[in-house]
Each structure stands twice: as C-alpha cells, then as structure tokens.
Amino acid sequence: MIDLINVTKTYETGTHALNGIDMHIDDGEFVFLVGQSGSGKSTIIKLLTAELKPTSGSILVNGYKLESIRRSSVPYMRRTLGVIFQDFRLIENKTVYENVAFAMRVIGASNKEIKKRVPYVLELVGLENKGRRLPNELSGGEQQRVAIARALINNPTMIIADEPTGNLDPARSFEIMLLLEKINALGTTVMVVTHEKGLVDRFTKRVVAIDEGRVISDGMDGYYNYEA
C-alpha cells in the first residue's frame, strides 16, 4: 500500500518538483501514473524507492514511513518493491538466469530456493527457454521481460514500472502491459508510469495524472484524458 500525504519536494537547485501531492494506492490495485516530462513522475518514483527524501509531507510504502526511514532499513523496504525501468538495467555479463537469480542472492536466498524459484518466474514471463542467453542476445521486449522477472523474483507486494514500454514497439509494449496485468491479477499491486496515451486507453485502469508537481486528475475507469 502506498500513501502520499501532502508531499513536496524541492531540489537543492531550488526546483519545486512536487507541490503537495496526495495519493493513495491500495494493495492489489493497477494504477497508471501519467504526466508530461518534468511533471514530477520521476521524482515520485525516487521518493517511493527512497532514493530521495521528501522536503515535507508523509510517504508510507508497504508499512515503511519514508520521510523518517533509517538508512539501514532502506534495503528491506526496497525488497517489498519490484522496480522496472525503461532501459531494462540488466547486467550485461550475466545470463538471463543469473540476472534474475542475482536479485534472490541479494536477499540471502539459498541455492536450493534459487533453483526452484527462478525457472518458475522465467516461465511466468515466457522466457523459460532463454535462461542461458546474455541480455544482448535478446530483443527489447525479451529484455524487459527479464527485468520484470527480476522485479518479481522476491515476490514483492508492489511493482513500480517506470516507462516500461518506452523502448519497445507497440506490439511488444502491449505484450508487456498484458504481462503486468497478469501479474496484477495474481495479487501484486502494479504502478505504471507512462505517457503513452494509446496504451493507457487500451486498459481500463485507474489513471492518476500529475502536472507541475500536483495531482490534476484521478480516474478509476482510466482514460488518458490529459494532454501530454
């Protein structure tokens, strides 16, 4: 569950990125977060992953109060999240299997657990036969599936996808969105940050639009009715 209450963020340069954001996302929801470049989307993600601290306001993520979280608790908070990026962020010299297993190693999983869980998740994202490939031997859509598998591997409560289809063609983008919808149907909360109107409109989900660091619309039957 995510709760942002009157959150502001002003960078050291003086830029006001967020100007009093209120947003609540329940467990199991699927939410699109839309907005222009510079509207504050990336800042929200950085706040939710505790890369930044808010200037004021309160942020609750899966039980962690991020405005006052201790540095030593940040890794444990992050384990409740799965983050997916536009540029996939895979480790180039590790195979698909190793990239996914790597996230389990980080939390101290045993080899037995890794051998059991990784094939299951690779199958879930449709990459059961690509485990031995290196990332550069895969298409963009497949690389994003690896990133999704990595985000899912530790069974997070929530997936945050930052422009997950930004580097993909429309067909692959749609596949990735279907996969995220499938993951959501299995009980994981999903938040997708995007500015692709066509994609948002094909899925009737909740859409939160932000502009100049404020929520300007929040619709449950989701259409991208915001001019990007």
């Binding site: 890794p75 444990y76 992050r78 480790i91 980080v106 045993s110 530790n154």
Partner: protein, 293 residues
C-alpha cells in the same frame, strides 16, 4: 549478510581480481614496491640497532682514583661508586694491571722508564643504561677520591643520534609509502567499482544491504594485499641475502648484518599486517561514496 551468500560473494571477489587483471597486477606491483622499501628500512634499522647495542655494550667508563690514595683506600672508593643508580658493575684495576693494559701488545722495552707508580688505580665501570652516560660521568666526578673520569660520550651520542634519525626517517618513509599504496589500491578498487556502478545501482534497487555490496570489494582488496605481502616478503628475503653475502664477501663488515632467517617471523608479520592493511583499508576507502544511492 547471510551465510548463504558467503561463498557467492567470495567467488565474486576472486573473479573481480582476475577480471581487472591489469589493474590488479599494477596494484600488486605498487604494493610490493612500497612494502619492499618499507621492509628494507626496517631491516637497516634492525641491523643498525644491533650494531649500536653491541657498541654500547662495550662502552666503559674509566674512573681514575687520586694518585695519593693507597690501594686499600682506592678500593673503598669503589663502594661509593657502586652506590650510583646507573652503575652496573665497577671492576677495580690496580696500578700494575693498569700498566699492563697501557703497554698492551706493544714492545715492553719502549716503556722501560715507566713503572706501576706512574699509573693510578682505576675502576672500569659498566652502566645499566648507556644512554645516561653523560649524567653518570657527572655523578662519578663528584665522588670523593675520584681524580678523572673518561667516557666516550661522543661516540655513544653519535650512535644514539644515528639510531633515532633512522627510526624517524623509517617511520616517515613507511607512513608515506603506506599512504601511496593505500591511494593506489583505493583507485584500483574505485575503477572496479566505476566499472560496476550500474550493477551496484541495480543491487541497491533490489534491496542489497551495504555489507552485501561491500564484501566482494573487501575480498578483492584482501587478495591484492595478500599477494602484495607474500611477494614482497620473498623478494625482500632474496634481495637481503644477496646484499648481505656481497657485503660479507668484501670483508668490510662495517655493521652487524644478521641472516634473514633470524627475522623470518617479524618480517612475515610486518608484511602481512602492512599488506592486509593496504589492501583492505584501500578497498573500503573507495567504496563509501558508491553506496550513497
């Protein structure tokens, strides 16, 4: 860090050493060079110290008793001399013995006109602490019956000064070289971290703790330090023995030079401690700023 990760992280550290082969090689070479220089100074200091000790052990103060004193009276002065704190032993030398010492191995006919009465009773004094020779000499001069006191203060002081200077120089050079080694190892690890900063960012994003991220770099620094220490130890051993034998062969043994085997354990300890310190501390120095994500 959980125990499940230990083998994995250890392996990652080992792999990193070979993955950044050239930089690892450079870091080891620099560490070896610095340690060899540090060790060389330590060895020079050690040997010089032994030489100074030997010279100081042989240092004697000669006290001449008033020539008007009889032998019995002279001997009684010895009791007062022995009361002084820094006097370890005061051996009485009669006028006859003093004459014999004076003539020594020379042709006795050259000293025909000289007899024992020309000499004075003496005491040959060994000291508890040779560094206090000057103060002791002054105290001896105050003892009733003592006519003259002879001590080679200049030689003793010069040796002590040389030893002090060499100690300070060694410590200063060792400190500078340690810092140089630390910076180089730190830069090597930093390059490895720059190479892997994307990976580190991903690790942080999926919830890796700082200790999990730090451990492979710690292992890498440890391995570089161990390699540096072991290599420098054996290179030092070889160099030292070659130089020692060369000096012995010339027959000009200006100072005491003990075989390396007499110093194996201390030298191994110095190499191990310095190598590990350089390796581990160097790696930890470079990691900090990469963990602030």
């Amino acid at each position: 860090m959980k125990h499940n990760n230990f083998g994995y992280l250890l392996g990652e550290g080992f792999r990193a050493v070979f993955k950044h082969g050239f930089m690892s090689f450079a870091a080891i070479c620099i560490t070896v060079a610095c340690l060899v220089i540090i060790n060389s100074f330590s060895l020079i200091c050690y040997n010089l110290n032994l030489t100074v000790d030997d010279v100081q052990k042989e240092m004697r103060i000669v006290v001449c008793i008033d020539e008007n004193y009889t032998e019995a009276e002279s001997k009684s002065v010895g009791s007062d001399i022995n009361l002084l704190d820094n006097v370890e032993n005061a051996r009485f030398i009669s006028r006859e013995e003093a004459l014999e010492n004076f003539i020594g191995d020379s042709d006795a006919s050259l000293f025909d006109g000289l007899n024992a009465q020309s000499m004075r009773d003496q005491f040959e004094i060994t000291l508890v602490d040779n560094a206090k020779v000057e103060e002791t000499k002054a105290e001896l001069e105050k003892v009733v019956g003592v006519a003259d006191v002879y001590a080679d203060i200049e030689v003793g002081n010069a040796l002590a000064t040389i030893r002090t200077v060499l100690y300070i120089a060694s410590i200063a050079i060792a400190a500078v070289l340690l810092v140089v080694s630390l910076i180089i190892i730190s830069n090597t690890i930093r390059l490895a971290m720059m190479d892997r900063r994307e990976e580190i960012a991903i690790m942080k994003m999926v919830g890796a703790t700082n200790s999990f991220i730090r451990f492979p770099f710690f292992v890498e620094g440890f391995i570089l330090g161990v390699f540096g220490a072991v290599l420098s130890f054996f290179i030092e051993w070889g160099l030292y023995e070659v130089i020692r034998k060369a000096i012995l062969n010339t027959g000009l043994e200006v100072m005491k030079i003990v075989p390396f085997t007499e110093m194996l354990i201390p030298m191994a300890v110095i190499c191990a401690v310095a190598g590990l310190f350089i390796g581990i501390f160097g790696s930890l120095m470079s990691i900090r700023r990469f963990l602030k994500v």
